[in-house]
């Protein structure tokens, strides 16, 4: 990384840390207004997310799907599209994984898991690829269409799990058939977190390299920065946009695959618990940079993980973490106005000073 890249990274880190601190201050005022000591609330947020082995494991388990759904917003964003369909892509990916798992039956473990990941990726990728195609060929706004597809995906899942693929023997919870036990993915050897985390970290790193070091990534950045320049340069714009959407959707679909293979074992309402929406926040916090997504997904995973403890200790509703996330999102967006304003990060100001 050259020095100007380093400088802009430092600027981003500084502004993000300031935004995070500001959000925490507002949140402190909010909980204080409700009669809680903010310092105690911060401490419990820390306890529930990073203080102990078990809370770190819970944080990382939450971070895994967040990394993958964040990519669903970040990769299309590099091409200039604001896609927010990660929730739907995760759900269709999860349902496709169940279907693949049931169809595979007693397949050997590794090929079986690979096929299930592929099924999830294809389903999620097609789902968001459709958003890109509608945008390029019909001019349909991608933000609205992807959000509508979230609702459609969830309705389709409910349709399937209450009828065609329902497991009628599970009475306590409405769910789909289960995938075979032999195809369940377990935890990693060294830490109590499932393999979805390793998958999330790997694809983030791979996509970082692709977006930074390949001709394709360079072309996408031109397209995202200036569509007209991309057109003049003769880049295949339609194909690039749809491919970016497909990649993003495929990653969220893999997120759904791991939720099924490693966490639930079947598709149910537990797939649609907001990982897709929190993923949008992660993507914006990381400024659509796949490598930064790893770190920020862990931070957001921590906030989600501490929700239960906040509820037990202070009797705060479970929506507390959602309030905090929404607040953080808003402050981070507002902090965009600060880029280029802090003279420390502008080399030109050093000489005059």
């Amino acid at each position: 990384m050259n020095s100007s890249g380093l400088l802009s990274s430092a600027e981003a880190v500084t502004i993000n840390v300031a935004a995070f601190a500001f959000t925490m201050a507002i949140f402190g005022v909010y909980v204080a207004a409700l009669g809680h000591n903010p310092v105690d609330v911060y401490y419990v947020l820390y306890l529930g997310s990073f203080a102990r082995q078990i809370s770190i494991e819970s944080t990382l388990t939450n971070a895994a799907p967040l990394m993958l759904t964040a990519l669903c917003t970040a990769i299309p964003a590099r091409a200039g599209l604001l896609v927010i369909g990660g929730e739907g892509a995760l759900v269709v990916g999860g349902v496709a994984t169940v279907l693949a798992g049931v169809a595979l039956g007693d397949a050997p473990f590794l090929p079986g898991v690979a096929m299930m990941c592929l099924a999830g990726a294809l389903a999620g990728g097609t789902w968001i690829g459709l958003v890109g195609a509608l945008r390029q060929y019909r001019g349909v706004n991608e933000t609205i269409s992807s959000l509508l597809l979230n609702y459609i995906a969830i309705a389709l899942m409910y349709h399937l799990i209450t009828g065609p693929i329902r497991d009628w023997e599970r009475v306590l919870k409405t769910s789909s058939w289960s995938i075979p036990e032999s195809l369940r993915v377990g935890e990693m050897e060294f830490i109590g977190v499932h393999w979805g985390l390793a998958a999330g970290v790997s694809v983030c790193l791979i996509l970082y390299v692709i977006m930074r070091r390949t001709t394709f990534g360079f072309g996408v950045d031109i397209l995202g920065g200036n569509p007209r320049a991309a057109q003049m340069a003769g880049l295949p714009i339609n194909r690039m946009v749809i491919l970016c959407c497909f990649i993003g959707g495929a990653m969220a679909g893999i997120g759904g695959a791991f939720e099924v293979m490693a966490v639930h074992g079947f598709a149910s309402e537990s797939l649609a618990v907001g990982f897709g929406y929190a993923g949008i926040l992660v993507a914006f916090l990381s400024r659509q940079n796949p490598a930064a997504i790893i770190v920020l997904a862990i931070l957001l995973g921590g906030i989600t993980a501490s929700g239960g403890l906040l509820q037990r200790r202070f009797d705060l509703p479970d929506a507390t973490t959602q309030v905090l996330q929404g607040l953080l999102f808003m402050v981070v967006l507002a902090s965009n106005a600060a880029y280029g304003r802090l003279s420390v990060f502008q080399p030109a100001s050093w000489r005059t000073a």
Binding site: L82, I84, L134, Q136, Y137, R138, G139, V140, N141, T143, I144, S145, L147, L148, L149, Y151, I152, A155, L156, Y158, H159, T162, G163, Y277, I280, L281, F284, L316, P317, D318, A319, T320, T321, Q322, V323, L324, Q325, G326, L327, F329, M330, L333, A334, N336, A337, Y339
Partner: protein, 308 residues
């Protein structure tokens, strides 16, 4: 007339009645979004505003026993939340669509958080007017019980269409939304006009939310809104930013939403969730039909980023 015919008639009546009952939130949110978009900004957070309106209206009605006070408070809460959107969007280099998404997450979170104690108590409902004195059929009677907010929304749509077209305020709003250059040349304060457009839009969306909790379905819980605020944003595109067309489009969407429950009343319960997704499919179909890759849409405000 055999039994089959009767049941299809009752489905039709239930869909029409449902359209009238369900369309009011769509109408208010889409009128609010029309105001906001006419000023040149998109507020995708009206879904969050709708839910906050539903919660605050319900809570006010529970605490004071006055449903109309609840409607007012819902509108004010919606205006306050939209003010946040307006202020953040006034900063340079801030994407209004992304701010809308954050408002969507923040608003629903806030409503669920503050509304937790109000899930159980029941609030007084808004009154309705009976337009079915001529009929003895109970189905027709239940279909034609019309809430005052629906009628108010219809009048508001007519008024807005008139005001946007003929008043100075309407011209100012449209100029700011169509061309910043022209607005600057005329000496309008662009940020202030947009702020007013967004806040007024938020007020209407908040009122739409109070209809959900105080009339139909008339309760407060976390599953109250299922994306109506969001669909209303798409509905505005379909209605070509025309308040009167917003009214027709709201009825159409209300009818689509009412389809599943209407079929259930005559005993068709299979594919319930698929019929439930009808409004989303309809919205998407309408967007695909009415968008064009070549040019901005007819009637679209020039500064709105949603039809690039």
């Amino acid at each position: 007339m055999d039994a089959g015919d009767i049941s299809w008639w009752s489905v039709l009546i239930a869909v029409i009645g449902g359209a009238i009952r369900v369309s009011t939130p769509y109408l208010f949110v889409s009128l609010g979004e029309t105001l906001t978009e006419k000023s040149g900004r998109v507020n995708l957070g009206l879904e969050g505003v709708l839910v906050v309106g539903a919660m605050s209206g319900y809570a006010t009605a529970v605490l004071t026993g006055e449903p109309w006070l609840g409607v007012l408070v819902a509108g004010l809460a919606g205006a306050a939340l939209s003010l946040v959107h307006a202020l953040v969007c006034s900063l340079p280099r801030v994407n209004d669509i992304a701010v809308g998404i954050s408002l969507f997450i923040f608003g629903t979170g806030l409503a669920f958080f503050l509304g937790k104690p109000f899930i159980n108590p029941s609030a007084p409902r808004l009154p309705d007017i009976d337009f079915a004195w001529w009929s003895s059929s109970p189905q027709v009677q239940s279909a034609l019980k019309i809430n005052i907010l629906f009628i108010a929304g219809f009048i508001l749509a007519l008024f807005m269409a008139w005001a946007l077209k003929t008043t100075r305020w309407g011209l100012m709003l449209r100029t700011v939304g169509d061309s910043e250059e022209a607005a600057k040349a005329l000496g309008y304060n662009i940020l202030r006009v947009r702020m007013l457009g967004t806040v007024a839009g938020g007020f209407l969306a908040g009122v739409g939310g109070s209809y959900l909790s105080l009339y139909f379905p008339g309760t407060w819980n976390e599953g109250l809104s299922s994306g109506q605020g969001l669909m209303a944003v798409a509905l505005v595109i379909f209605a070509r930013w025309d308040p009167v067309r917003c009214f027709y489009a709201s009825l159409l969407f209300g009818g689509a939403t009412a389809l599943g429950p209407a079929l259930q009343t005559v005993g068709i319960t299979t594919n319930y969730y698929l019929y439930g997704a009808a409004p989303y499919f309809l919205t998407l179909a309408v967007l695909i039909y009415s968008s064009s890759p070549q040019k901005a849409l007819e009637g679209a405000p020039g500064e709105v980023s949603i039809n690039r």
